[in-house]
Amino acid sequence: MSLKPLPIHTSRFGGCTLTGALSVTTHVRNTASVIHGPKGCTHHNFSLLHATGLDNETVTLPDLVSTALCESDIVFGGEGALLRTLGSVAESGPDAIFVLSTCIVDTIGDDVAAICGREFGVPVVIVPTAGFLGGTFQNGVANALRALADTAEPLPVQESVNIIGEMNLEYEVEENYAEVVRLLDMLGVSVNIRFVHDIGFDDIGMLGAARLNILREPLLQTVGMYLEQRFGTPFIPSFPLGLSGTLSFVEAVAETFGIDSSRAVEKEHLFQSDTLAGFSDLKGMVASFDPAMGDLDSVHSSSEVAEAVRIHMREPGTRCLPLGPGRPVGTAGVRRMLHRWRRQLHA
């Protein structure tokens, strides 16, 4: 039984489990996500995914279908509504159907697994997403990744990596991916699949073929461990963060593949020096980190960057310009963060 969490600052780590799961399932091409619950859950999430897409300069029309439960479905059970919905969605010929439960459905105890276990002519994948069980957005992401991973079987390993759990709703999702690819290219390592970002349902079958999994962020460690257990694939717990984090990332990937990383690291170090040299105008300026920039990783990597360009950082909350928040992915992420800082400091 989940208990009420402590009343801590949860805005970053809270959120709706269903939304988290949808940020994953809607990135599998030609599939439908059936949301078993009242229609508002679907409407709200459609709007959110659509609006976030627009913010990220893409038009997203996620294929969400609601079982549109009403009061009598709650009283008599919503299994019939789910069965009808799955039947009609299956007729439209998707490659797979994802079924996501909502709070009310898990409260009344609909047997979703029994309904989804019937034959619909397409794979039906259940993602548990009832938020009141204590889950967050992040749990939704993790639940979806695990449910999708369960559709794949272990394979012979190839010399490639999987990218696990990209933050599909973040503005810089493509830039961050491109930066990781650039670093992997330096080592001659290729990407097997982006699990999950704009892939086909069949691609998921390749999940077990990678030599290494690279997680987007450390919050995905339970997923990393699950994949390791299922496919024997080791993982790196995060995308590269900041200057030294980027260098150690290159080293860690190289080590897994048994490659000598010294030349790549040296090249990247030079590239970092060049990049920082372009921001010499910031030297000697005074700022502090925004107290909202709470997590240690981002404080650490941002402090390192500030030090490298000789910005004097005061204690958070002191009366000077607050910078951030920032979690700079790779050297390119550092450069974009410095551009933002420059705009703030010269404003």
Partner: protein, 270 residues
């Protein structure tokens, strides 16, 4: 208008007691409405001469949003007692508690909650908020516990005391414990035990109903005892209950017992 609710362990005889109480009340010339709040829908069966009446939830299920009229859910049984069954889902699916809430909203909309007395006959344990609905928002003001002298039955009654205590302590609440009805299993010292239990939870034994074969005979003849054998001692018992319910003025906030106390109490009356 008097609104009373009968709560107690499943199988203890709430429906039999409710139906006979309603029949006895109607015999006093009162306009009585009995509402069965249990998906098993058999509360009013003896008043309806063995017929299962269509339930409110059945109609909602079939009609969806289409309108339902009062005449489709309210049926007149023995001696003019009006009967309603809330109904609910099949066992093991859905949410019966929400069904009770939905039924009350419908009855309210119809203006069906009228007459001299409303008797709410509620499913065994108050398993969730929905089944506490009759006690909430000014519906049933007088709550009667139906129990035998068996420990499990007293345990259930004590548990319901907790729900009444919680609900009656709310500011606008008008729900109170009105008394304990002993529907006896004819075990030794049963009346004394249940009377003492009633006292300990800050209430009183309002009626002792002995176990009598006439209840089963009446049931097999699809009638209440009041109708089947009006001259019997058992019928007199139900009439006495009806009288006491109408005259009752002692409404209390119960003080439920700890399990140890309850066991010790039952033990002392072996």
């Amino acid at each position: 208008m008097k609104q009373i609710a009968l709560y107690g362990k499943g199988g203890i005889g709430k429906s039999t007691t409710s139906a006979n109480l309603s029949a006895a009340l109607s015999g006093m010339g009162l306009d009585v409405l009995q509402i069965g709040c249990d998906p098993k829908r058999d509360s009013t069966r003896m008043l309806m001469h063995g017929n299962f009446i269509p339930t409110v939830m059945d109609l909602v299920r079939v009609r969806g949003e289409a309108p339902i009229t009062l005449s489709e859910i309210e049926f007149t049984g023995f001696n003019g007692v009006r009967c309603v069954e809330a109904g609910g889902p099949e066992p093991g699916v859905g949410c019966a508690g929400r069904g009770i809430i939905a039924t009350f909203q419908l009855l309210e909309k119809f203006g069906a909650l009228k007459g001299d007395v409303i008797v709410y006959d509620v499913l065994g344990d108050v398993v969730c908020g929905g089944f506490a609905m009759p006690m909430r928002e000014g519906y049933a003001q007088d709550v009667y516990l139906v129990t035998s002298g068996e420990l499990m039955s007293l345990y259930a009654a004590n548990n319901i005391c907790k729900a009444i205590q919680r609900l009656s302590s709310r500011t606008k609440s008008t729900c109170r414990l009105a008394g304990v009805i002993c529907n006896a299993r004819n075990q030794p010292n049963e009346e004394e035990l249940v009377a003492e239990f009633a006292k300990r939870v800050n209430s009183s034994l309002i009626q002792y109903i002995p176990r009598d074969r006439v209840v089963q005979l009446a049931e097999l003849n699809r009638k209440t005892v009041i109708e089947y054998e009006p001259a019997s001692a058992q019928a007199e018992c139900y009439r006495s209950l009806a009288m006491r319910v109408m005259e009752n003025t002692r409404f209390t906030i119960p003080s439920p017992l700890e399990i140890d106390e309850l066991e010790a109490l039952a033990y002392s009356y072996i």
